[in-house]
Symmetry: C2
Subunit: 208 residues, 2 copies
Amino acid sequence: MTTSANDSLLARAIARPETEEKVARRILDAALDQFTTFGLRRSSMDDVARRAGVSRVTVYRRFQTKDGLVEACLLREGSRFFQKLDTAVAALPTMEERVVEGFVVALRYTRAHPLFGGLLRLEPEVVLPYLTVQGGPSLEATCDYLTAHLRRAQQVEGRGDSDPRPVAELMVRVAVSFLLNPSSCIEMEDEDQARAFARRYLAPLLDA
Amino acid sequence: MTTSANDSLLARAIARPETEEKVARRILDAALDQFTTFGLRRSSMDDVARRAGVSRVTVYRRFQTKDGLVEACLLREGSRFFQKLDTAVAALPTMEERVVEGFVVALRYTRAHPLFGGLLRLEPEVVLPYLTVQGGPSLEATCDYLTAHLRRAQQVEGRGDSDPRPVAELMVRVAVSFLLNPSSCIEMEDEDQARAFARRYLAPLLDA
């Protein structure tokens, strides 16, 4: 093969994933707009295709079902949420403080987010399955995120090397529970009280 | 008033609540049958009235809406669940052991129960709101139950007198979370593992 043929292959190999990624991103952007404006129930794959300016075949090729598209949206908004969390807690010196502040920020962010808290208020019966009985993927992604943080902190803070995943899962489950059902004997409207709750009941799990 | 008039009033006063209670019980029995056989969505107040052998007016007088009837069913099944729990843990000597065993029994019982686990599998989108965004009453009833137990144990076991309600709520939320979303990195299918989980992560909350 000539050098220029090689170059061309390389260029195509580089170019193709970028384009694919761009299309996928455009579809996800359109889906997020569509879902948060009209709700999940009244949104079809056609609506999303139209809004993204692509054919419905293009949408279906990437996201076989509406469920798949919703899950992809949830996962992408999840990543953005993790970035927000990282930024919010980055300057805090201990894992304990990051857990406490992370809990407060997580509740604030997800309650205010148009896809999480927004749709939960708009059409709970449609959104709830994604966060509960079908919530495996989101739960797993969130646990992966927190587990990685806890593992790094174990090393840095010399907290022993027991598997941090169960603790991560437990913390995530408690936060999700407060998102799904805010009515509580524990005052959580006030962020100082949410902070006190996390300090007293969640932070000690780090040493469980 | 003559003695016999007094007697008659007394008899009516005693008889009336019994009758009222009997009718309410018959309606709730019918509702439970109806809901667990056909699901909530396909069940009307008329179906329940027919099954109970009472008029729809009688049903509406006691339970203004279908939502109200569903909630009353949930609360009654909740009471039965508390009785089961009490029986299951009564012989255990410490609150710690009762929390551990109670958690295992709670998961087993609710997952197998036709109204809780059954409808959650049959029509999750209909049942989920009652256990989450509209789950205030069930959560509160369950917290009341566990709080009372924790308070008695505080006295008996000399655990200090801090308000046990937040700990109760936290335990209930974790158990509900595992009912709603069983997919987990924590092996919970196996009851010994559920027990180990409760011993390691929930029991220590008693001293938090």
